[in-house]
């Protein structure tokens, strides 16, 4: 199973995503902001990063940019959590090197669907 980092300033979101992923057998690490996420990412290697875009401090887009600079994260899937009201975030995310996005609100099923798309089949 995969080692996943989730980044969101909303505790509700983190808990939801964490629970969904943990229930599917993944190992999950939570970070509340970009700086924290980068520290975690340097400490261990994650198979997948799921990040919110709008966070206090540096945004999720900046997180993608920073992660892509790290040798270990050149090809690691990074999924952004966006909303339908921010279409420009998608192109920004893409430009920064994000793998894709999940549009909020989403249900656990949609999240697991995305996982199937980016994680190696077990």
């Amino acid at each position: 199973m995969s080692n996943i980092l989730i980044v969101d300033d909303s505790m509700t979101m983190r808990q939801m995503v964490n629970f969904t992923l943990s229930s599917a057998g993944h190992t999950v690490t939570e970070a509340g902001n970009t700086d924290d996420a980068l520290l975690n990412a340097q400490k261990q290697r994650f198979d997948l990063v799921i990040s919110d875009v709008n966070m206090p401090g540096r945004s999720g887009i900046e997180l993608v940019t920073e992660l892509r600079k790290l040798a270990d994260y050149k090809f690691v899937p990074i999924i952004l959590l966006t909303t339908e009201s921010q279409p420009e975030m998608k192109s920004k995310g893409r430009a920064a090197g994000a793998t894709g996005w999940i549009v909020k609100p989403f249900d656990p099923e949609a999240l697991l669907g995305v996982l199937r798309k980016v994680l190696p089949a077990s």
Binding site: T12, M16, P56, Q86, G100, K104, K117
Partner: protein
């Protein structure tokens, strides 16, 4: 897979309600100081998160309103709409509505969706007027799939060379396509280089995929949505031989500066939500620990500092640790007083508008910390004082100008630690308390008889009248501070917290209410005194001095018992044995007097012995036994015996009652000393 999402509700409610409180404050800030990118971003983020979580947890109504607010906020933070009073009003009402819905949902009550319809409409209207196209930011619904009939498509999928760099894998998209129907795919290997030129991080492949599906072309394009910029995509509808462009609409938006917001920098501090009862348990346990420690200390008193050096030094270490733990645990329950202050900007703004008064609210010292339980119980009294100041204290602009003041009234809330106490002041620059009106009103309500009213009432006695039950100078019961609840309730609430309320006022210049509180209700520094073989504890904060006096210094005054003449001051003497109706009191020729002071008044309490000083854990008598007059609680001493803790405030008051007063007894509160400029409550 279905997951029970209700387990996230508690976090969601707590986080969202807290967020809304911030938003409320921030909206008011914006209205006051004008546009601030950082603050606007913070507001936007909070509502944005709330919407996301609400939608994901199935609170559609909440998400919908949050969505409309978010659309408006988005335009505001881009500077396309400005925070007019009207806009702020609607947003604040939105905050109220969201809060009510969250509270209802939390209580598992049905959400009153109707109340939001009007708001949603208003927001949409504002958005249109603000030059924004509401539809542009809304979800675009997909065109319906072609009615379930199977269609054939041929898809050519040509990933860009750097396709892998976004962490994507072409195979996954083909897998996902396969979920739409039946696929047959062939890979185009023509671009593959020779092995020595091969770069494993470059994508050389392309695919031609035949798909038979009931899904629409849009559904197919959605599969490649993530990579629409990094691949060439052709989707051909075979039956109609219609080739569609592989391009998706351009989505380049206005570039935005991602400014770091100072407003929520605090939120970056790592915090953890812990249930209050867990902390209360901890506080109780620490209380027990302190008692056990005191017992141990007593049984170790006979140890020899040299012979038992090790035990003594280890014990000293333990003592420090116990003290540290106690401090830290009590600190957990401390919250900044901003938790109460934070609600007033909104209240003052709304009331000011309602009353037609211009008011400037000044908050200071809101970072000072106080025990959580005290903070919670301060909400009502403080709210009442603020409403009272706005309603009765601060005049209408015209009246103020006529009195030579600025049209804008000023209301200040200030909090600070003063010695071992916590002091909160609510002061205004309004009309002050009119002693004549107070007296007249007291006559009307029968609180005062004519004879007493004629006699000169000093300031303290006048203020005491204000705190009498049933007193109100407002001609009509206004719906602001009225409702028949008077200042007496405020002073009662404050007294319940072990505190006191003082009034200082100058006619025409303003009024200040000062609430004086103990820092914590859990542990107190106490002086242990002995009388007739019993032990009592006096909270040290009330002790001014202890002295042994000769009987000569005690003078008898007819009708007043004994008084102590101390440095020019006459202090009434009260025997603790009398107060507690103890028999066999020792008549010492050299009695020990403990001079107590509460609310500006002194009293000398006569005891047999001073036995020592210790930190004691307050246990409620009411909860464990019943209310005992003059006692604030009980504690367990080091030797395991129970001792009662004196309620000094109550005793000082009782002493005042013993004193004969001219005229009718007004009330407990009104019977305050006449020689003091402040009122004891």
């Amino acid at each position: 897979m279905s997951l029970d999402l209700s387990r996230f509700h508690a976090t969601f409610f707590a986080e969202s309600l807290e967020g809304l409180n911030h938003v409320e404050q921030q909206l008011l800030d914006i209205e006051q100081v004008g546009h601030d990118k950082g603050v606007m971003d913070a507001i936007f983020r909070t509502i944005h998160s709330l919407k996301g979580s609400a939608g994901s947890l199935g609170f559609g109504v909440i998400a919908e309103l949050a969505h409309e607010m978010e659309s408006v906020l988005d335009r505001m933070r881009q500077g396309l709409m400005s925070a007019t009073a009207e806009l702020t009003n609607v947003l604040l009402r939105g905050v109220d509505c969201l809060r009510n819905w969250l509270l209802a949902a939390e209580a598992k009550e049905p959400v009153e969706a109707a109340s939001g319809v009007e708001l949603v409409r208003k927001l949409q209207l504002l958005l249109q007027r603000g030059g924004g196209d509401a539809a542009a930011s809304r979800a675009v619904t997909d065109t319906a799939a072609d009615g379930g009939t199977r269609q054939k498509y041929v898809i050519v999928f040509r990933p860009a060379r750097d396709f892998f760099h976004s962490g994507n894998d072409p195979a996954r998209f083909i897998d996902e396509l396969a979920q739409l129907g039946v696929i047959t795919s062939t890979a185009d290997l023509s671009a593959l280089p020779s092995l020595d030129a091969f770069d494993p991080t470059t994508c050389y492949l392309a695919w031609r995929i035949a798909l038979e599906t009931s899904a629409s072309a849009n559904d197919i394009r959605d599969v490649f949505d993530w990579v629409s910029n990094s691949c060439a995509l052709e989707i051909e509808h075979v039956r109609e031989t219609e080739v569609r462009s592989a391009e998706t609409p351009q989505e380049e938006g206005v570039p935005r500066a991602e400014a770091a917001s100072a407003a929520r920098r605090d939120a970056n501090l790592i915090t953890m939500h812990v249930r209050t009862d867990k902390i209360d348990d901890l506080v109780n346990l620490v209380g027990e620990l302190v008692i056990t420690h005191t017992m141990l200390k007593q049984s170790m008193q006979h140890l020899d500092a040299i012979k038992d050096a090790r035990a003594v030094s280890v014990f000293a270490q333990l003592e420090r640790n116990v003290q540290d733990i106690q401090e830290r645990v009590l600190a957990i329950r401390m919250m900044p007083v901003s938790h109460v202050f934070g609600r007033f900007p909104r209240l003052v703004r709304d009331l000011g508008l309602q009353l037609g008064k211009a008011i400037e609210l000044k908050l200071s010292g809101e970072q000072a910390e106080l025990d959580k339980s005290v903070i919670e119980q301060l909400v009502d009294p403080l709210t009442h004082l603020v409403r009272n100041a706005l309603d009765h204290g601060i005049e209408l602009p015209a009246e103020r100008l006529a009195a030579g003041k600025s049209a804008k009234g000023s209301l200040s809330l200030h909090a600070e630690h003063r010695g071992g106490r916590f002091v909160i002041t609510v002061s205004d620059d309004g009309r002050g308390i009119d002693a004549k009106r107070v007296r007249q009103r007291a006559l009307e309500t029968g609180l005062l008889d004519a004879a007493t009213a004629d006699a000169e009432l000093d300031e303290a006695a006048t203020h005491a009248l204000l705190l009498s039950p049933g007193f109100s100078t407002a001609r009509e019961v206004s719906n602001l501070s009225g409702r028949g609840v008077g200042l007496d309730v405020v002073s009662q609430n404050v007294r319940k917290l072990g505190g006191s309320l003082e009034i200082a006022s100058r006619l025409g210049q303003g009024t200040a209410f000062t609430i004086n509180l103990p820092l914590t209700l859990a542990i107190v520094d106490g002086m242990i005194v002995g009388v007739s073989g019993e032990r009592y504890i006096i909270p040290i904060t009330f002790i001014r001095e202890c002295l042994q006096v000769s009987a000569v210094q005690l003078q008898s005054v007819v009708g007043q018992g004994q008084v102590l003449h101390l440095r020019g001051e006459y202090i009434p003497v009260l025997k603790l044995s009398d107060l507690c109706a103890l028999k066999g009191a020792v008549q010492s020729t050299q009695p020990v007097l403990v001079v107590l002071e509460a609310e500006g008044r002194a009293i000398a309490l006569q005891v047999d012995d001073l036995l020592g000083q210790d930190q004691v854990v307050i246990k409620s008598l009411e909860a464990n036994y019943r209310k005992v007059e003059f006692m604030a609680g009980a504690s367990i001493l080091g030797d395991g015996r129970v001792a009662l803790i004196l309620d000094v405030t109550e005793i000082v008051k009782q002493r005042a009652n013993i004193r004969p007063m001219s005229g009718r007894m007004l009330s407990d509160a009104a019977a305050a000393p006449r020689d003091s400029s402040v009122v004891a409550v």
